[in-house]
């Protein structure tokens, strides 16, 4: 179990680095991170179940200029980690009920992560000042190396917070579902509601005037095709 939390911390930390400090190749987006977290913890399918709704929910979480978005990587890694570990404790794997409880408990970490990003930026100001001082002392190599030290704090924050949030959720979710066994059905309905809501939130986050109309048109067309398939078979 300790190894699981260590692995979760490492993957969350690396994702936090990839998200802003290095590369930005979508590896820290929920669509990639949730399955990767599931894979590392031994349940890739559980991660895949969460990947699509989390990606759509945070489709608008982009780092424009100096604006700080919700820390979708921290949220996604904690949610996926919590769901996989709780599913394992229950012996059911990641069910919709487990997934939605993981979202309920761990999603606020994305907001905490945004606060932490502000702290990181303030600490990085010190690195910039130190680089100026090192250059003035005639040490340009050390001055530019200060840039890499900026990767440490984002890693450390997610390394600590993701396993912490996941451990709380992984303890609470099995206890809740064992105490209220009928809750599984209700939460399955919540899972459908959450998934559909995430799709609508994605359409809203797109900065295009015609996006809502195109979204609704696609829903209508998709439903028509689904009804035809249901009546006549694939």
């Amino acid at each position: 179990m300790t190894l699981d939390y260590l692995l979760l911390g490492i993957i969350a930390g690396l994702a936090a680095v990839e998200r802003k400090g290095f590369l930005q190749a979508m590896l820290s987006r929920p669509i990639a991170l949730a399955p990767a977290t599931g894979l590392v913890l031994g349940d890739p399918q559980g991660g895949v179940l969460l990947a699509a709704p989390l990606e759509l929910l945070w489709l608008g979480a982009v780092n424009l200029g100096a604006a700080l978005p919700a820390h979708e990587a921290l949220g996604a890694s904690a949610i996926a980690g919590a769901a996989v570990l709780a599913g394992r404790a229950l012996g059911t794997g990641v069910t919709p009920a487990v997934a939605i409880l993981a979202v309920l408990i761990c999603a606020p970490l994305a907001l905490l992560g945004r606060k932490a990003d502000g702290l990181v930026e303030r600490v990085n100001e010190r690195l910039a000042r130190r680089a100026d001082a090192l250059l003035a002392q005639g040490n340009p190599r050390a001055a530019v190396r200060e840039n890499l030290y900026g990767l440490f704090l984002p890693f450390a924050i997610s390394f600590v917070l993701a396993p912490l949030g996941a451990s709380v959720a992984a303890a609470a979710i099995p206890a809740l579902l064992r105490r209220f066994p009928g809750g599984e059905w209700l939460l399955s309905g919540s899972w459908v509601a959450f998934g559909a809501f995430a799709c609508a939130a994605a359409a809203k986050a797109l900065r295009a005037g015609r996006a809502p109309a195109v979204f609704l048109g696609a829903v209508g067309a998709g439903l028509a095709v689904a009804l035809l398939l249901a009546r006549h078979g694939p």
């Binding site: 590369l23 930005q24 190749a25 979508m26 590896l27 987006r29 669509i31 990639a32 399955p35 895949v48 990947a51 699509a52 990606e55 759509l56 608008g60 982009v62 424009l64 100096a66 919709p96 979202v103 309920l104 999603a107 930026e121 303030r122 690195l127 910039a128 000042r129 340009p140 530019v144 190396r145 200060e146 900026g150 990767l151 059905w185 399955s188 309905g189 919540s190 899972w191 459908v192 509601a193 959450f194 998934g195 559909a196 809501f197 799709c199 609508a200 939130a201 994605a202 809203k204 797109l206 295009a208 015609r210 996006a211 809502p212 195109v214 048109g217 696609a218 829903v219 998709g222 439903l223």
Partner: protein
């Protein structure tokens, strides 16, 4: 003197760390200095001149991390001329100051609010329809596109200097961006249909439709101005309530 290709490759690699120490004072200034340093070491054998050149690039800089590569390339183009005594020392700075804003706007508008959301929605659709192989395929495709553009912009900046603007204009990124955003909206709509179909298969259609009704309420609240997180929690609670009501109405009788 020209910067060797191996050094250019090293600078490009370091461009991937442009935001490593993003700060409110100089924003990407440390990242820029870190990226361009191998080229400056090649161009300025005299430690004092190198120090002076590095000081130039430790001043304020902020751009999109992908399109910023074009400015790093262009700054090397200018530094080669400064080192050869063909240009004034302030010209690399003028180049950076002139282009960082427009290229940041193009990068934000194309990569962050169009290409990445499009691929996010495409992979979400793929994950719902086909599972993890679709996610892997989407990541490979996105990075093939993004890396190709990033390398092309870096080389265009290096080879053409100020003329990199016409190279960027030739890509017609704003037009493509609008189409990608609408494509992402369509994919999000198709994702909703898949969510509903999977819900109906797992629970029965009335219960899935109850979830959809709860989502519609949550989405309406979001469109009317409620913030994302309260809307998420309201939707999840409404989903449980709607499911309970649907069970009583449709599955147990009146």
């Amino acid at each position: 003197m020209k910067v060797p290709a191996a050094t250019l490759a090293r600078v490009f690699w370091r461009c991937l760390f442009l935001q490593a120490a993003w700060n409110r004072r100089g924003m990407q200034n440390l990242g820029f200095a870190y990226a361009i340093d191998p080229a400056l070491r090649r161009l300025y054998a005299d430690p004092e001149r190198r120090k002076e050149a590095l000081r130039r690039h430790l001043c304020f800089f902020n751009c999109h991390p992908y399109t910023g590569a074009a400015i790093v390339g262009g700054a090397i183009h200018h530094e080669e001329r400064v080192a050869a005594g063909e240009e004034a020392e302030r010209l690399p700075l003028v180049f950076k100051e002139t282009l960082q804003g427009p290229l940041a706007a193009i990068g934000d508008g194309f990569f962050w609010t169009a290409l990445r959301p499009f691929f996010g929605a495409l992979m979400a659709f793929g994950a719902l329809a086909f599972g993890w192989p679709a996610v892997v395929a989407g990541l490979v495709l996105y990075n093939a596109v993004h890396m190709a553009l990033r390398i092309r912009l870096f080389l265009a900046g290096y080879r053409r200097g100020d003329a990199v603007v016409s190279e960027v204009a030739r890509l017609s990124l704003p037009v493509v961006a609008d189409r990608l955003r609408l494509g992402a909206a369509a994919l999000a709509g198709l994702c909703l249909v898949l969510v509903l179909a999977k819900g109906a298969a797992a629970m029965t259609l009335p219960l899935a439709l109850a979830g959809l009704a709860a989502a519609a309420l949550g989405a309406l609240a979001l469109w009317l101005g409620l913030r994302l997180f309260p809307a998420v929690y309201a939707t999840i609670l409404a989903g449980a309530g709607a499911t309970l009501a649907a069970v009583h109405l449709f599955l147990r009788g009146p």
